[in-house]
Subunit: 353 residues, 2 copies
């Protein structure tokens, strides 16, 4: 009910702002359109924020962490304990996302939404404890989460979006941590795009042929057993999804409702984005796709949503690392738009007609 109210607040961006931004871009001292996608990013920021001089001074990346019961099927190259260990690594500032977020001038907020471990007396201000499940259940044997749990994950994301919008943050990035989470992401990709499991299942953190075949079987079994309904994204999230994927979906819904641009990281984040998009396609206007992941299922999900990734650097780490880098490029587009001289200001002759 509350979710329905939020979804109804999400509107398409207003084309009037795109036109206004284009007008300014065309007066800058460069051939029209010559800064390509940088100009596109500026237009989109103006349209999302409904502000002809938007700011991106406060940036935050949310790294949602959760465990997966399906890890016991041997689908990952890393042991499950790594999820918890990596949360500590995030909080100590030593992970890839910390390094790249610092480079991009973004804060990192680590959200325990489903880790199968306790973080007691955590005083770190970058840590948010919003545990919905202590790891999902093994989706090969049963539903990964109940529908209520899936809904709660979405709500955690929405509430974070509302909170950080209120705090004045201007752009959000999504990120994930969860050993085995390419498995539910591939399941979501298959169910919501209609592609076969083989077509959307990749190597995750680096598995061999044998483990890959097993991973495909596990996903096929989970879909056959749970029969997720493609027309009901909450059902898909509950049955073959994950807590962190739900948090990401909620964050994107909340970003769109608050008219805040959201940079969607790679494969797992895009599974969350596809859940959000299936709930409300207008969310697309608020999303930037950070990069083209090496995971094979990523592209089909991006095509389904209609997003073109900003970077293509063979990344497959997750955490929000691609989102951090893409923020730097999006910000470059905004600076071009705001800071370049116009032909008139610079006394430069325009194109001959």
């Amino acid at each position: 009910m509350e979710l329905q109210a939020l979804l109804s607040r999400i509107v398409s961006v207003n084309g009037k702002f795109i036109e206004q931004a284009q007008k300014r871009l065309d007066n800058l001292t460069k051939p029209q359109g010559s800064l390509g996608r940088l100009e596109e990013f500026a237009r989109q920021l103006v349209a999302i924020t409904e502000n002809t001089m938007p700011e991106l001074d406060k940036k935050v990346i949310f790294t949602f962490a959760g465990d997966h019961g399906v890890a016991e099927e041997g689908v990952s190259a890393f042991p499950k304990e790594v999820t918890k260990q990596m949360v500590f690594n995030f909080l100590n500032g030593g992970a890839g996302i910390n390094v790249l977020a610092r480079h991009a001038g973004a804060e990192v907020v680590v959200v325990d939404i489903g880790v199968d471990a306790e973080f007691e007396d955590m005083k770190n201000t970058c840590f948010v404890s919003q545990k919905v499940v202590k790891g999902t259940k093994n989706m090969r044997s049963t539903s990964a989460m109940t529908r209520d749990e899936a809904m709660k994950c979405i709500e955690v994301g929405i509430e974070l979006a509302n909170e950080y919008a209120k705090k004045g943050y201007k752009v959000f990035g999504t990120g994930d941590m969860g050993i085995a989470n390419t498995t539910p992401s591939s399941a979501i990709a298959s169910v919501l795009t209609g592609k076969t499991v083989d077509e959307v299942t990749g190597r995750g953190t680096g598995i061999n042929d044998e483990i890959w075949k097993n991973k495909v079987d596990v996903i096929k079994d989970a879909i056959a057993l749970n029969k997720p309904d493609p027309s009901d994204p909450m059902d898909v999230l509950a049955k073959v999804g994950g807590a962190e994927i739900g948090g990401i979906a909620g964050l994107i819904l909340g970003a769109a409702a608050n008219k805040i641009p959201v940079v969607v990281d790679g494969f797992i984040s895009t599974a969350g984005a596809l859940i959000a998009y299936t709930m409300e396609p207008k969310t697309k206007d608020y999303m930037f796709s950070a990069h083209n992941s090496q995971e094979v299922g990523h592209k089909v999900m991006l095509e389904k949503i209609g997003l073109k990734p900003i970077l293509d650097l063979d990344l497959r780490l997750g955490e929000g690392t691609g989102a951090a880098l893409a923020m730097l490029i999006i910000e470059a587009g905004l600076k071009i738009y705001k800071d370049m001289a116009t032909f008139k200001e610079a006394a430069v002759a325009e194109k001959q007609s």
Copy 2:
């Protein structure tokens, strides 16, 4: 003779450093290879600098400006005066390169190597006056430059590389400004890759079909008249090149000789890079290709050199704008390499074998 001495100083990078860098990368808290090209950039920086902990704290982009006699053939959408006007725009900080260089933390040095206008009493510390020609001659009627002039352009670039290496700059970027300069760049691309003029000639700053056909004819005529020798890059640069293209080629040669990484911008810069590469193929080890330009001839030159561009954002402005953005990504790779925690430091379990 002096050039020969410099060329003989250019050596291939030492694979030992690549291995050393790889070892560190493989111990960082991420699946091996999961940061894709960021890891490649780190390895390359270590190998170029022969330093296992390189710095990129001092960055500079050289924007070489020159005019082109061939502009009188009506090959560009903009009048020739714009070259001079844009030099003033650069020095006032209002151009695209200024905005993006600030974003990347890089300085901009504007080099008048061939502008057909005087910049008297220019006090701006970012301005370098090294005029070799007052615009090239119209290559449809005669050789664009003499061989001596072409050599001088190369020397200007080499001397700048030597000077800024001595000043402690850690990475160079290339850039260009010159109305009509996609015309000589396409000519160079055709002569040095063996592709037809049609295959390597694009729309420059935005010309229509009719002007494009004329541009192709002009380039074909210039090549037929001057008969540049593909085995003699100095001959190609002199007959159908440009002063700023020679400066860029020289900068790249100088960067390689000084073991300094050089980020090659788009189409015009890559024409310069191809001249440098043809003189000494080992220069390739020191180059990063910033981005995939919208100009059609760019890709064939990159393939000839063996470079894979970092960004693909539909840019076609030049000036060094792509180089500035790419520096941010290369720097991200270095920060990953230097600043991430190792598995041991973070007490994170490694991949199961």
